[in-house]
Subunit: 512 residues, 2 copies
């Protein structure tokens, strides 16, 4: 029995990592196992570790409680067993724990702080050059985004014909010099010319991603990890079931202890020609078994929704299914699935040739407000053509659009919601979106504490309100595009609110 002097202190919801040397003969990724058991007063957690190359094995643990813990590391990786102890200190000021589902349709950090998701998508930002990554992190820092979707595997697609900075496996990729914008679709077979050992991971690839997750965490950004995706010329989307399962175990062992990780099983699961629903269900089962922290789990569609009512699906990760109605459908999806509705793709602001990537900033911002006021969570992306072919949606870099500048304003207003989350008010008029707190009474006639009316592309010059004779409201007129808030004083009874007759206006009423 070895006694390990691990770091002696770790913050609650931070990562305690135990690194030990072990056997490096045979194939350590496959032939040896390592397990850790972490025990404190309130929890005993068993997690798998992983081989990190160079004869080093690691086990990571995220404590959910303060106080003294012990641990014990065992496995075939070594003839020795290891144990030790450590203390979990209170969470730091910016550390609210992992994000959980709250109030059925919403999210909150584990410490109870509401989490209003403002997502963006940069599929392989972390597989670009150091310089580009630094630029992306700076862009994120300057933005309101608190969630980012990205892939572990590199991406092969239009505007994505380059090589990633590293590969997840040992081996060699096909020769990408043959690729052009015209022929790239021919190279999605996945086997041609690639030489990978799907039983030997490249730890450097994963260490780098961990570093990126860590940096996101320090900026308060959730890492919505897309573990599989179909835009592939390397064969990573066409591995065998045994290879897939090995990958899933490795990914979970490495990433699960990071509190800001979300599991997105796939981007566009329905485009995988070689996977069945049984495969996706098997991956989900692996997560449920191996992730003791119950990170959020979702699976994203291209055309056909996955059955989001499956119990392992914590929230709906939706790509809009209709060119004209996207955020507007949040109401019916909420009703159908009774889970948080995250609109991870509602088209991107930009001007590329594809219809999913060329809406205006105004329309993107409108979709954000529509989604938010309907009690859903919108997601952003940017696809502006530029000389270097560096598109935010895939590569990160700099933000070129206008919508992202409006999201902090929206987020600030979302944070004013009493309780956790907004819901679409059943008593709203046909030509408005009216949000009330999720906890508000179901009775239509019962006056709520808070109303947020959104008029979308409509341009009323005024609106009239009546709730009852007594209740006094603080009235504010919000220009969601120009980001102004006008205080209109206190009103009661029947009252009229003058509006500028422009698009994208909102009216906020707070019970005084």
């Amino acid at each position: 029995m070895g006694i390990l002097s691990a770091e002696r202190e770790v913050e609650k919801w931070d990562v305690l990592e135990i690194a030990v040397s072990g056997k490096s003969d045979k194939n350590p990724f496959v032939d040896y196992g390592i397990t850790g058991v972490f025990a404190g007063k309130n929890e005993t957690v068993t997690v798998d570790g992983f081989y990190d190359g160079g004869g080093v094995y690691k086990v990571r643990f995220m404590p959910s409680f303060e106080g003294d813990y012990t641990f014990r590391i065992t496995g075939t990786f070594s003839d020795e067993e290891f144990e030790g102890e450590f203390r979990v200190t209170p969470a730091g000021k910016e550390n609210h724990g992992p994000v959980r589902v709250a109030n059925t349709y919403h999210f909150a950090y584990e410490d109870g702080t509401p989490y209003y998701s403002i997502g963006t998508t940069c599929y392989v930002w972390e597989l670009q050059s150091d310089e580009r990554i630094a630029q992306t992190l700076q862009s994120l820092k300057d933005s309101a985004f608190n969630k980012i979707r990205f892939c572990i595997f590199p991406k092969h697609y239009d505007y994505n014909l380059g090589e990633p900075r590293s590969y997840p496996y040992e081996g060699e990729p096909m020769d990408s010099r043959v690729l052009t914008r015209d022929n790239f679709m021919r190279y999605t077979g996945g086997s041609e010319g690639n030489k990978w050992d799907f039983h030997r991971f490249n730890p450097e690839h994963f260490r780098h991603i961990e570093e990126c997750i860590w940096k996101l965490r320090d900026m308060g950004i959730e890492a919505d990890l897309i573990v599989m995706h179909p835009y592939d010329r390397w064969g990573f989307s066409q591995m065998t079931a045994e290879q897939d399962d090995l990958y899933w175990h490795y990914v979970i062992a490495r990433f699960a202890a990071y509190r800001n990780v979300w599991w997105s099983l796939a981007n566009e699961y329905d485009l995988f020609e070689h996977k069945t629903i049984a495969d996706w269900e098997r991956y989900a089962a692996i997560i449920c078994e191996k992730d003791p922290y119950r990170h959020l789990r979702s699976i994203h569609n291209c055309i056909t929704f996955y059955d989001h009512s499956r119990p392992w699906v914590t929230h709906c990760s939706i790509q809009r299914q209709d060119l004209y109605k996207s955020a507007e459908l949040v109401n019916e999806w909420r009703e159908k699935y009774q889970k948080p509705i995250v609109l991870d793709e509602i088209a991107y602001e930009g001007n590329i040739e594809h219809g999913w990537g060329n809406i205006t900033a105004e329309e993107m911002t409108r979709r954000f407000w529509e989604a938010a006021c309907r009690g859903g969570y919108p997601g952003h992306g940017e696809t502006y053509l530029n000389e270097e072919d560096i598109l935010w949606w895939s590569h990160g870099g700099v933000l070129r659009g206008e919508s992202h500048k409006r999201f902090q304003f929206l987020h600030d207003i979302m944070c004013q919601t009493p309780g956790i989350g907004l819901k679409p008010y059943a008593g709203s008029r046909f030509d408005e979106v009216c949000a009330v707190p999720e906890e508000a009474a179901q009775q239509i006639k019962q006056v709520k504490d808070y109303y947020l009316f959104y008029y979308s592309f409509m341009r009323p010059s005024f609106r009239e309100f009546y709730f009852d004779e007594e209740t006094e409201f603080e009235v504010r007129v919000i220009d969601t595009w120009n980001m102004t808030i006008e205080d209109r004083g206190r009103r009661r009874g029947r009252f009229k609110v003058e509006l500028p007759g422009r698009q994208y206006m909102a009216v906020q009423l707070k019970k005084a």
Copy 2:
């Protein structure tokens, strides 16, 4: 037997009117009848006449063929019978005859000229002052509108609390001085305070409307007559079945001979509390029996569609049912009803408080293009607040918006369609509306003579096209908002069309 010297010549599809004196004792509207039989080489038409007041009865006839005709007038209105003859001369240059359904989903004048409907709505423009009417006619003359919807009965609604210039019946209306914007909904009962003789029409009311129809005809504008509507404080929407039928007979006898008349049975039939489907079917039967010219017939909804598959319905007169998708649904309505789809209400350009009346000019123009490129027919209206409360949608007057300035441009392009009418191309990509001629081959792979691609609010910076190696196309890039057409020369094989990355662009391809 009296021999009448009627006007001896009339143009084909013009109105021949026979006026004769008759009995004026009792109630001539009810107690006496008059019928005309008009016979030429190709047709013998029997029509009812009507009492026009002052002891005068009239019978009107619209001939559909050139050549010599005879007529014979009989009835209880007189102890005499009358007969005579006249000659029908060729239609004048601007006279194409009544509009008919053509190619299942489209319209053409009876002489075969395609009719691309560009409609507007001014519910009671003709019941305003002479000055206002003259202003409306001038606005229409300066516009591209070739159809206008309006009511025979006056309208009671928000912004419509004034009195009409005349009433359809003898009697007295309720005292409208009690009305305010806040209480007007209480006065839709219809009986309170009104004193009408529903068996005695006011011929002046109808003569004035005829004059308006005539003036529209001379400008090439179809008069889509809304014969009944629910926005009523006078009781005209709550008459008995016998009174309704009397009204329908009178309306048809007076108006049917005008070639530019369309019958809209109702605006928002589903808001009539006192009418059943059986009533609407009975009115339709009266039209089918009494209108020998088979003018177009439709019935307009508020929320619930009438069953447009009823055989008497010549085309669907649709009010959009969804706040976000309107013109976009033309495809499915075409498929469902196999009739022309006329979008008589897709919201109005304006800034009033109601969501049906405050969209932007850009959005209205977009809906026009969406509808047109999907093989449907869009309709306009304007509801801009102004000091006089004169809103085009109801009163006519001047046009204050921006969308109407773009309709001539659209109409010119619609007129370039080979054959009659466009249809949505089944082989279009998900992010475009592609129109091809209605007559084009069903086979997707067969290259068509003509394509009109519309990109709506999307902003592609370019699009790529490929049909086959041989076919050469004349390529034009259309900015539907700025009304510019750029000639891009002739292209064949695989070709790329650069676009400005703005909204509302279209690409027109004509086989060279």
